[in-house]
Symmetry: C2
Subunit: 324 residues, 2 copies
């Protein structure tokens, strides 16, 4: 079944002379790496390729080969064949169906289980750790040689979506593909350095303040980190720079639940993480947010101190239940 679909998609791409690739807003390593890997592969086949993303490229992905070819304007005119990469639906691309010609051929390549199968050909494999894995298979099907540039993009796609082969979406096939990508001579040490190892000073300063305001509560099972409005203002940091800081609280020995509370404008944005059994989605949903069992978030419209107290109380109650 997947084989038939895969071959159909490859066949349509082989026939096309122009192809536009689209990837999702707030781009990450998987969508950019997969798009660039596929774009370079299609160029190698002599196609005219247009790669679109409505948002700027995250700074840690600026090293990717071909990244300068990404455009933030829509193609004019649109090619007949549109390839959507790592997008669950058209809204994720900042596009509506009226934005492109009605006779477009929509190819949909994705690994999200929630994919809306919005394409004419939908190659959606939720077993794949990253869309980069499926892009790898498509490139193989197209018979394109894995250049170092293509492999660097696909390796980055897989590396970022698996947290360096750590997240539970990683499979033995993930490792097999990573190994084959390495055989094309990529400098994977340099990729790791670019992707993970370059912390903006403002982020380290946020961490410093976060640690200074860290509380370990509920007999060491709950770690709560706080960032005040003044912290962001004094550093001149965007809220998004706080991403990942919560892991310093989550990975503390003995901690089961971690929270990061960010005072943003007049509300408190709460990120929640757990390690082994605690369902943070339940807590987040209770406050009108959501997510998964191990990672969720919500927004509280109240002063910071009140939010801290409310959260501590709710999580303590749930921790007590969980142990019983």
């Amino acid at each position: 079944m997947t084989n038939r679909i895969a071959n159909q998609m490859a066949e349509e791409l082989r026939k096309a002379s122009r192809v536009a690739l689209f990837s999702h807003v707030s781009p990450d390593g998987d969508c950019i790496g997969s798009t660039l890997g596929l774009g370079l592969a299609l160029e190698a086949l002599g196609k005219e390729v247009y790669m679109y993303n409505s948002d700027p490229i995250p700074r840690n992905l600026g090293f990717l080969p071909g990244v300068k070819k990404m455009r933030t304007e829509l193609p004019a005119p649109f090619p007949k064949v549109l390839l959507f990469v790592d997008c669950t639906d058209l809204q994720r691309v900042n596009l509506e169906s009226g934005d492109f010609p009605a006779d477009s051929l929509i190819l949909n390549l994705d690994h999200h289980i929630s994919n809306q199968n919005f394409g004419h050909i939908n190659w959606v494999d939720s077993q794949a750790s990253a869309t980069g894995e499926i892009a790898y298979e498509l490139i193989r099907l197209l018979g394109v040689k894995l250049s170092q540039d293509i492999a660097t993009n696909l390796y980055t796609a897989i590396l970022t979506d698996t947290g360096s082969f750590k997240y539970s979406n990683t499979t033995s096939k993930t490792h097999q593909i990573a190994g084959e990508l390495m055989d094309s001579g990529i400098d994977f040490g340099d990729i790791h350095h670019h992707v993970f190892d370059r912390t903006p000073l403002a982020k380290l300063e946020l961490l410093r303040r976060g640690l200074n305001q860290l509380q370990v509560l509920a007999q060491g099972q709950f770690a709560m980190m706080t960032l005040h409005k003044v912290d962001f203002e004094e550093i001149g940091a965007e809220e998004s720079l706080g991403e990942g800081l919560i892991d310093h609280a989550r990975t503390l020995e003995g901690v089961e639940v971690a929270a990061l509370l960010k005072e943003v404008n007049a509300v408190i944005r709460v990120s929640l993480r757990s390690n082994r059994w605690f369902d943070v989605n339940k807590i987040a949903s209770h406050f009108g947010g959501g997510g998964h069992k191990r990672a969720a978030g919500c927004t509280l419209e109240m002063p910071l101190e009140e939010a801290k107290e409310l959260l501590l109380q709710t999580i303590e109650e749930e921790l007590a239940l969980g142990r019983s």
Copy 2:
């Protein structure tokens, strides 16, 4: 050649009824994981197995299946067949040749290029990212089924020695083996959590103080972190707990050289790291220490403030040279 040696070693192990395994002092994930993986495999073949390490098991490895079987006393009596795992020489095991019977059969399994080939059969493969890779091959040769327990140990061995598939010793074969180990149903998310994700509170507190005392110098190219005697005393932390903190300074954007200065007793212990071109070994050697180009260390016998100034001056000079 390796094939012949590998088969010889497998043959000797198959013939043996009792085997003792030895691994090196200051044990790490590779030596403990490889030893346990091999030990469990030999037990599965019905051998009587004795596993020895002279030091305690690091706390992040306490979850490894079979770890309770490790002994800190030498076997009495010694078996005929002694298998040394991940040891460059006998000194690394805290053993001298007089400590065991002269008619012992010494099997030497290692991946260090500096291995002294001290065994009767030496299977030394410096291309392997970890001794765990070679142990995997030996277990395959022995025809033992990869149980979940064996695979957990070997995966941990490879994971720790490659820094989660990041270090330059990682090869496509490393990924291939990791994939095959995953197929035996290991809980690799749990392994990552145990190995990497459990920070003692004292360590996070050292980081907090380190960040509060971080200086970014030399136009952002040099980041210097300081920990005072009083920091260690107030936290009740060993000096060794400061390990790894320097990476927060090294990975700062724009930084080429990082230093961590620890005030220990009456001296200053200096750790040095660089990212791309700066030779920290040269700096360390200049002060009577040593190491590698990217990681080195030395000890300065002077007050902390004096050490900071001297280091800054030396590194600024070297940075200026490097740029010219």
